[in-house]
């Protein structure tokens, strides 16, 4: 089992990144299942015949016997009988014969009806996206915690047709997947024959172990294909699946063009027919775009997230990739709440975002137990971090009217340089260090998270380092990020701290300057280290377009499993054309629709290639 990750990606502070789309934050009930009669639509070898009231018993008997049939039962007093056909006779021919019989009012197949099928997973009652009864979601992390009965993806009738999507490999290109999770282990891709014994590959650490050290990918995977009807946990869109874990984002949820394009190409090369990417960022990235085109050329459907900024992706400056790429195989997904309203955080776009799907308070498989080590820099007392060279102090910061810049105020405990930040400027010729040692023993992964507003002159630097052995991290430590720059406002920053796991992990900030220009400096608030200890039994609620995306990826897998000859075009058409029209999505997506699983399963593409020959 993987316990450590090595990644020193300079995150949002100093360069473009691609980050996952979840807002991170579980409970039980059970419904019974009912399924019968195989998969035929009507009872073979039988028809129902309704005789006219004028047809006497002798005439009825003659009609049936004349065709070589036999009456199985009188179904009511009005002349409706259940008829058994003769050997080798087709239902269609029988119906034609009865249609021409003057004694017959009508004849029809003996249709088969199936109950909507619900699995027995213990927490199924919490999965409002699959069956919205207006239930209250326990541990909801966003409002509303309960919604409108019926506002769901209409999947139970589809489960009467198909629950096994394992013939279609679905690649989760994400933070990896905890392939040992109790509700995922049986549904992971078997890559042993291809040299990938751990169900996928890792393009962060460059090895073949895609164990999730964040949790995001495991949650996404469970929405697509947590084992259904196994009397534990949750179920995915597919009860049986083949999930390929492709790790391209590190423990803090950050990746790069390099890791992601390798991941997409790996998935395509190894047979995935659906790729889920609940991630976004960057710019118009030709390498990334080419990887998606390669997927399309190999008949792969690619489902991606719209993003969680609450903005219109169509507007200049708001474009987010891969959502805003234009390949026909791409489906970009917005998030709906349990009233089927577009969530305020969800991005949208009449030309870039395609469909909506449930994305709030989604319970799914998780990677393990999380914990948070918070630090307020000793407030309200003195700074309790080790310093050298001066410059740093603790204090408080508030927010300006826009909420995007720090001002003097008491809202947050803060680490400041200069001590008067956000007024004044840091010193010239400085080497100001501040650091603290944290106990990260016994965990599998850790990430460093804080909010900062930073303004450092071009000739100066703000460095963020760690050192597993403790002590001054700027002596023999590892740099997480460094250099001059500006955040231009308050930025949320996140770094993978997994290489620092142990009892004596020191983390620090260093401001260095030359003898000339100075700038405003830095203010840091909400400093925390999130830790993760892997297990196989955790489930968690998450919210975001990241959660809406795998609903659609799961549907794509189901459609391709149900219709083995489907192309990517057939699959995309069935998803986009058969959804449920929602006023909330009109003008905000290309389709104006939320996905509807049974409608997509019943959708039929118009015939093509019509020609005629006349003789």
């Amino acid at each position: 089992m993987k316990t450590r990750s090595r990644s020193t990606i300079a995150a949002a502070l100093f360069g473009a990144v691609l980050a996952l789309y979840a807002q991170v934050a579980a409970a039980p009930s059970a419904l019974s299942a009912l399924s019968s009669w195989g998969k035929s639509q009507y009872v073979p070898g039988e028809v129902l015949v309704k005789f006219k009231p004028s047809a006497v018993a002798q005439a009825r008997a003659a009609s049936v016997a004349g065709l070589g049939h036999a009456v199985l039962a009188d179904l009511d007093q009005s002349g409706l009988v259940q008829v058994k056909l003769g050997a080798g006779q087709t239902m269609e021919a029988a119906l034609d014969s009865y249609k021409n019989d003057p004694n017959v009012e009508y004849a029809q197949p003996n249709y088969i009806y199936r109950a909507s099928v619900a699995p027995n997973d213990t927490q199924y009652g919490q999965l409002w996206a699959f069956k919205n009864t207006g239930q209250t979601i326990a541990n909801a992390n966003i409002s509303p915690a309960s919604g409108t009965s019926g506002d769901d993806i209409h999947i139970e009738p589809a489960w009467g047709q198909i629950t096994d999507c394992s013939s279609v490999i679905v690649a989760v290109v994400d933070t990896g997947v905890n392939y040992n999770q109790e509700d995922l282990a049986a549904n992971m891709w078997n890559g042993s024959g291809s040299g990938f014994p751990n169900h996928g590959n890792d393009f962060v650490d460059i090895d073949n172990d895609p164990m999730d050290l964040n949790g995001h990918g495991t949650h996404v995977a469970g929405i697509i294909g947590a084992v259904g009807n196994n009397a534990k946990g949750t179920t995915g869109v597919c009860w049986m699946a083949s999930i390929m874990a492709v790790r391209v984002l590190d423990a803090s949820g950050v990746g790069s063009t390099a890791s992601i394009t390798q991941g997409v190409n790996f998935a395509v090369t190894n047979g995935a027919k659906v790729i889920n990417m609940s991630l976004g960022g960057g710019g118009n990235d030709p390498a990334f775009s080419n990887a998606i085109t390669n997927a399309q050329n190999n008949n792969v459907v690619v489902v991606v997230a719209a993003g969680n900024d609450g903005v219109n992706n169509d507007l200049t400056g708001n474009a987010i990739f891969p959502c805003n790429f234009t390949q026909p195989t791409l489906i970009c997904v917005a998030a709906l709440d349990s009233n089927f309203a577009l969530m305020s955080f969800s991005n949208f776009g009449a030309t870039s975002v395609d469909v909506g799907a449930p994305g709030t308070n989604i319970l799914s498989t998780f990677v393990g137990a999380t914990a948070t080590i918070s630090d307020n820099f000793g407030r309200p007392g003195a700074l309790n971090w080790t310093t050298s060279g001066g410059g740093w102090a603790n204090g408080t910061l508030g927010l300006d009217v826009s909420g995007t810049n720090f001002v003097a105020g008491a809202t947050f405990s803060a680490l400041l340089n200069p001590t008067t930040y956000p007024t004044g400027a840091y010193a010239n010729s400085a080497d100001n260090r501040v650091y603290k040692t944290f106990d990260l023993s016994g965990v599998n992964a850790a990430s460093l998270n804080f909010f900062a507003q930073i303004d450092i002159a071009a000739s100066d630097a703000l460095n963020i380092n760690f050192k597993a052995a403790g002590g001054d991290p700027f002596v023999g430590g590892v740099q997480l990020a460094g250099g001059p720059g500006t955040t231009g406002g308050i930025a949320g920053l996140s770094f993978d701290l997994s290489p620092c796991i142990g009892a004596t992990c020191s983390v620090g900030f260093q401001l260095t300057s030359n003898a000339s220009i100075t700038a405003k400096g830095a203010g840091i608030v909400r400093f925390r280290i999130d830790t993760l200890t892997l297990n196989t039994t955790t489930y968690q609620i998450d919210t975001g377009t990241s959660m809406a995306t795998p609903m659609v990826a799961g549907l794509a897998a189901m459609l391709r499993a149900y219709n083995p000859q489907f192309t990517f075009t057939d699959t995309v058409n069935a998803i986009k054309n058969a959804g449920k029209s929602l006023p909330a999505l009109a003008g905000k997506t290309t389709t104006g629709k939320a996905i509807d699983v049974i409608s997509s399963l019943a959708y039929i593409n118009p015939p093509t290639g019509l020609s005629a020959s006349v003789q």
């Binding site: 039929i604 118009p606 015939p607 290639g609 019509l610 005629a612």
Partner: protein, 122 residues
């Protein structure tokens, strides 16, 4: 006055065609004989499971004619049909159908029509 002359001309042409030929005196074009032709209509197979299994198939619509049903025959769903059409121009379109409906029942679903094909029967 010009309008009236045209109307007369059209009526005359119709009368000649309706006569099915005849002497064709003077400079009038020869009448077009009405004859039966065998017409085979083909299309690409749909890839939906439901179209290619029990309860599935195609409806072939030919203007002025009853719809032709091409149903799953127990092994395959044919993608052609042959019919007899008389001289004329026909609009042909095909829809695909399956038993599964969008509620999970068996009342059936039908596709949108194919692009319409104009068929000229000489």
């Amino acid at each position: 006055m010009k309008t009236r002359i045209r109307l007369v001309a059209l009526i005359a042409a119709g009368w000649i065609a309706g006569c099915g030929g005849g002497g064709g005196g003077g400079s009038s074009p020869p009448p077009v004989p009405v004859t039966d032709h065998t017409v085979t209509i083909t299309w690409a197979p749909n890839r939906e499971k439901g179209v290619n299994s029990a309860g599935g198939g195609y409806h072939v619509s030919i203007s002025g004619k009853p719809t032709i049903d091409v149903a799953f025959n127990g092994a395959t769903t044919p993608t052609s049909t042959t019919t007899t059409l008389q001289t004329g121009t026909y609009s042909v379109a095909v829809t695909a159908f399956a038993a599964l409906d969008n509620q999970g029942g068996a009342t059936g679903s039908v596709s949108a029509p194919s692009q319409t094909l104009a068929v000229n029967v000489p």
